[in-house]
Symmetry: C2
Subunit: 198 residues, 2 copies
């Protein structure tokens, strides 16, 4: 005999399939949803469908937006000759939050990962190369500092080099406020390699 | 300027309002949902609404079920004279998983919490008292071992005592496999108080 009603089991199963939600959280969420007032549940499902149906990719930088061209690409005050390449819209938002970067972005929507079978053709590289035919001074590669992120950075830099456009990579090292004793060796060595003169 | 499109912000906000989902998880989930194939998103929202619309409370034990009477209450092979009182359907499922309890349950759907303004009238106690008018041998109180759970247990035992029905409380102590050095003092003292002769 199943522990819960079929409807509850199906809901738990669906929720547990989402990223970062384990079986226990899925159970808690399922019961929470079932106990929520009907109109709030209807509202939640509507918000999900609305986002799904209305959010598309910016025709220029491929970030997620509800317009043809995203507000950043449409902003004439920004430096369109400087393009920061990021893996996804969340990484872009992280840099936007700093409020100090006034260039534009290019969102790859992923990173090259031979392990997961994600090749250069699966991320938004073609779109980037088309942009580089225009007037661009610098491409800043801000992919994650992971194996996939580094692989992607290497691949992109090799791809762009022949065009003569300057390609840079964001620095990797000890995080600000980080205690050296708690930081892994790879990061420590990376910080040493990347040392700058004072 | 908002970091994301309005639809995405609204979705993140709704997701972050769910229990156990922080702002970062909500962002990750939102982008995952938007990138999911449309039919899978539609399926997910349908499963949520289906569960919400079809799951109700068992007329006898108040657990969540899609029938009038839940499978456990409808099962004649179980001992209907022994009622285990639990806070919610998940706690009930935890005991069902042991496969060793053959009595029935009563689901309070909460616990008494003066702090949260939840009084005895807000949990399914009336329904329990109605059941006790029938032929019942024992009420096993299996509310959580938290302040609220203990308060609820005390309240229920006082409520039932006058009826002459036997009221018991599940044991509290060191978890099986638990290392004494890692267990908090309250539990250690509770285990000492509850010691049994060998």
């Amino acid at each position: 005999m199943d522990l819960y009603s079929g409807y509850i089991n199906k809901l738990i199963e669906e929720l547990a399939a989402l990223p970062g939600i384990g079986n226990k959280s899925a159970q808690r969420l399922a019961f929470y949803l079932i106990n929520m007032p009907s109109d709030r549940v209807r509202h939640l499902t509507k918000v999900i469908m609305d986002a799904k149906e209305n959010v598309k990719h910016c025709k220029i930088c491929c970030t997620m937006t509800d317009q043809e061209i995203c507000p950043i690409c449409a902003n004439k005050a920004r430096n369109h000759k400087q393009i920061m390449v990021v893996e996804n819209s969340r990484d872009q938002a992280a840099y936007e939050k700093t409020g100090k970067y006034d260039g534009v972005y290019h969102v790859l929507n992923g990173s090259i990962s031979p392990l997961l079978g994600i090749g250069p053709g699966d991320i938004n590289l073609k779109e980037l190369m088309v942009r580089l035919e225009g007037d661009v001074d610098e491409v800043i590669i801000a992919t994650n500092s992971s194996l996939e992120g580094e692989t992607t950075a290497m691949y992109i830099s090799k791809l762009i080099k022949p065009t003569g456009i300057k390609v840079t990579r964001i620095a990797s090292g000890v995080p600000v406020g980080g205690d050296l004793e708690n930081i892994d060796e790879v990061t420590l060595l990376r910080a040493l390699d990347g040392r700058t003169e004072l």
